[in-house]
Symmetry: C2
Subunit: 331 residues, 2 copies
Amino acid sequence: MRIALDVMGSDLGASELVAGAVLAANESNSQITVIGDEKEIRSALGSTGDSGSISVVPATQIVTMADSPFDAVRKKKDSSVVVAFELLKKGEVDAVVSAGNSGAVMAAAIKFLGRLKKVSRPGIAGIFPTLKGPVVMMDVGANVDCRPKHLYQFGVMASAFSRVMFDVERPKIGLLSIGEEGGKGNTLVKGAREFFEKSTLNFIGNVEGRDTFQGDVDVIVCDGFVGNVCLKLSEGLAEAILSMLGEEIGKTLKARCGYMLARGAFRNFKKRVDYAEYGGAPLLGFNGTGVICHGRSNRVAIKNAIRVADELARNKVNDHIQNMLEMDHLE
Amino acid sequence: MRIALDVMGSDLGASELVAGAVLAANESNSQITVIGDEKEIRSALGSTGDSGSISVVPATQIVTMADSPFDAVRKKKDSSVVVAFELLKKGEVDAVVSAGNSGAVMAAAIKFLGRLKKVSRPGIAGIFPTLKGPVVMMDVGANVDCRPKHLYQFGVMASAFSRVMFDVERPKIGLLSIGEEGGKGNTLVKGAREFFEKSTLNFIGNVEGRDTFQGDVDVIVCDGFVGNVCLKLSEGLAEAILSMLGEEIGKTLKARCGYMLARGAFRNFKKRVDYAEYGGAPLLGFNGTGVICHGRSNRVAIKNAIRVADELARNKVNDHIQNMLEMDHLE
């Protein structure tokens, strides 16, 4: 697959993202088009050049984290994110990966790709590590005020994603609520439950916040406000726990020695919960494939995000979404 | 202060809660009325008897976790939770503490206490440990569909609680949203922000999920659906992290030895994040004081919850709430 990588506007700078492209090119068959400041890209590529599976497309403007997404996409016509989505629209690439302003990526997708037929609200799927496999949560930030039907469609889209990405035949879908009984939840969740019960999806009922990390479901559905809070709360809590643990360990020599011995275990643990392992959050519901990466993404995260984009495009996740929506035919 | 402790319906059984009452009686001046199955209570009290600061009031019925809250409160007239709230209503105790069915505690508060003047929606405040001091989140489960005014009132109530409980002169209040800028959030949050900006509260703006555990604010305001998800997600994630770390440490002898050396640090860490340290979640906005404890509360948690109830009643948190609402006079 041909992947456009927008290397501008992230926290670690273009050279780290270019390094991610090089890693991906070495480990996979993806053809990667690196988009951004040409001088920076060429210097980061060094002697590798744009040989073989990496090519460079210059873009002179940058959408920063401070830019207003829709304005930026309208006005900065030669920004890397706009150039990337134009290539996708023209069919010159199969997917876009970006670690820049995620609102702008969303805005560019709306402008250049448009919604998939039958999808009311495209959204963003987040991947969480759990005690077992990964769980997909949707929506994690694109839609803050939702209707029941939107939640049902998030379930369809995340389910299709879980299938093509993690090879789960019939992903188990849970509706995030505040109690497992059907009567528990707010008006939105109660309404969404009716949709899920009528659907052909593998809906297993309500799940609670506590269940998120048990790994007993493959997909968790919620509105974008709740999902974004969950995503950031989890990130903040994981950091706080490790930081508190570090403080306690630092207090005595004995504990510090203990840590030295157990260092390998800590390293493996960090790998298990590291967002970089999953690479990015796919945009689902658009006429085209996009993956949003964390602003702090390192080269490994970028390599993995390229892999996610490649899988989604190769396995035609959008066709699955379309088919599932048509099969259910719920309005 | 005189505290009624409902010892029925929790996970660890009446004897653990009675032990909590004994701890509290030994360490404080609280007068504790233990309510529940008389035989179980007497046997747990043993030779201590109901001497001095502990007395026993029998209740023959139990509201279980499976009971429907409002039905149970209406029908089980001699249940421990109903008897406790009747004592509070009659002025024979100053506060109620319960680790039973929390919906039933809420229902009993609605039935026997009623709302404080000017409070539209009473709620439940949760206490989260952070890198610095504790943070109070409200609402964590009582109100799943809210209007902007309700969120503002949660801010007032949680602020009064933070003041009397943690001695914070002017608690810093953050509104939980998905971005720090004022324009970010759903319709509810944007509406609530207008209330906060007009209020005399120490409102510092939006906070994100990530900020919850940084300890830079004293109070975080959200609706009860979001708050309950946050509470349970945090609990689940903390457990999952420790369990993953335990798995990794268990894999090699070297890491296990390291853990043995660092055990004290792990113990201190667990104490820092242990919900038992905070004891319980206060009901705020009622004509009376109630504290809900986790179903799994051990004796230490119960002792601390009794302390919370005692502080709230002694410092007249309800008068503070009333005054603040009258001062702001926002409709």
